[in-house]
Symmetry: D2
Amino acid sequence: MSNSEKHRPKAMETEFPVRYAETDAMGVVHHASYLVYFEEGRSHYMRELGNDYASIESSGYRLPVTEVDIRYLGSLMYGDHVRIRSWIEENRSRRLSFAYEVRNSVSDDILVTGLTRHVWTDLAGNVSRIPEELRDFFASNMV
Amino acid sequence: MSNSEKHRPKAMETEFPVRYAETDAMGVVHHASYLVYFEEGRSHYMRELGNDYASIESSGYRLPVTEVDIRYLGSLMYGDHVRIRSWIEENRSRRLSFAYEVRNSVSDDILVTGLTRHVWTDLAGNVSRIPEELRDFFASNMV
Amino acid sequence: MSNSEKHRPKAMETEFPVRYAETDAMGVVHHASYLVYFEEGRSHYMRELGNDYASIESSGYRLPVTEVDIRYLGSLMYGDHVRIRSWIEENRSRRLSFAYEVRNSVSDDILVTGLTRHVWTDLAGNVSRIPEELRDFFASNMV
Amino acid sequence: MSNSEKHRPKAMETEFPVRYAETDAMGVVHHASYLVYFEEGRSHYMRELGNDYASIESSGYRLPVTEVDIRYLGSLMYGDHVRIRSWIEENRSRRLSFAYEVRNSVSDDILVTGLTRHVWTDLAGNVSRIPEELRDFFASNMV
């Protein structure tokens, strides 16, 4: 296995219809809705790989968002389906980044790209190390 | 076919995960999110039966909501999946009602029930009759 | 004081601009946004009368919504200001109802009316009686 | 007037209560809500300076968001009031950037900072120059 392959993160895709409530008076999906799509992409990623965020929270950890970057290249309308690809971009002992690509499910054009940075905290909000039991999970999904 | 069967509307079900953004500080899905779930149930219903709302709008008609009733019997949390059942409750020449049942996909308990009433309008917002080409569609889904 | 005056509930008004994110592809405020406006009307009511909901929650009580009714008579657009009037419609030992009227702040036309029913619960979600210290508050605001 | 003063953009502040619907199961304002706060800050800015976005749209122009950056330093809860400061960070012939600082209205701590980049387009979505009649407005608010 080449080095570049070894470090290529695994990506997961999920797809769902645009909701009417997510559109705005310009006739397209409101720009803030993409942050909710990213969250759904990230949730799907963790659910599918067997470590859903709900169980992480119930074991006493949280992953609040510390930074967001979004680039808008195109738009989605009601009637379209969102296709979102999510992967772990960075995995450190105290922080984690997810990257995202949002596509129109029919044209497959990339419409929005983004990055969310997170820190590991306990329930009181104090920064902590990544939970022991999740180290292997996140490390293996980077390879 | 008995009379009661003849008039039993067809119902459609769809299922999707609760989004973190839909929860509130009580730890459960915020009560306004169910109105968005209803909309997604209704959208799914029409998409599946071949007359999606996007194409209705592009043919010059709209179905704005004129009335909403919701009863909350239980709650959903992040980690749960929403199962929503939607059907046409009333179908008149100028108006339409959809009814909904929201369940937890695992327990199958009914958590929220609701009704949305709509009128047919043109793009300018004037009340109109149901589009000719949709009469059969809605009538047949009532039987 | 006449009997009808004695039982007329106190109403409170608040006003704020429509947010672009609250509109949808029809060009008007999405029907689910009014439930958030009602919540803001109710929050304002309690804040102004000295018993904000944040302090009720921190003293161990909650007022989850059990029922919602909304009637839509007109619409609001981006650029409009929402004027919302809220009052206590019913005040029982275990439950409470708020009623609402949403107006366009310029035309003063009533656009949306609604009712939310609530129960008093403890933090575990068990139905409880109205907190002792709030009995007088809610009773006096009914008179 | 010194050169640095000459180019210091005018900033506008607005303040409003956190809405319960904006919180999430972590007990704090959901990270996507800040993008809506930025939009409200930007809307307030333009309304106050006499060129509200509603009238810009009705004169045939739009300012869609092309890029978003957000940094989260702290959090807000239900019961807090949002204080948001907005200013024009960049003003070119075809594009515009707004910057934002969100504070807790009581502690005055900066909790979230952000930037939104926009392009001028016509109603069909084609990139255009800034409308002639707005050139002076935006230029003067940079000085």
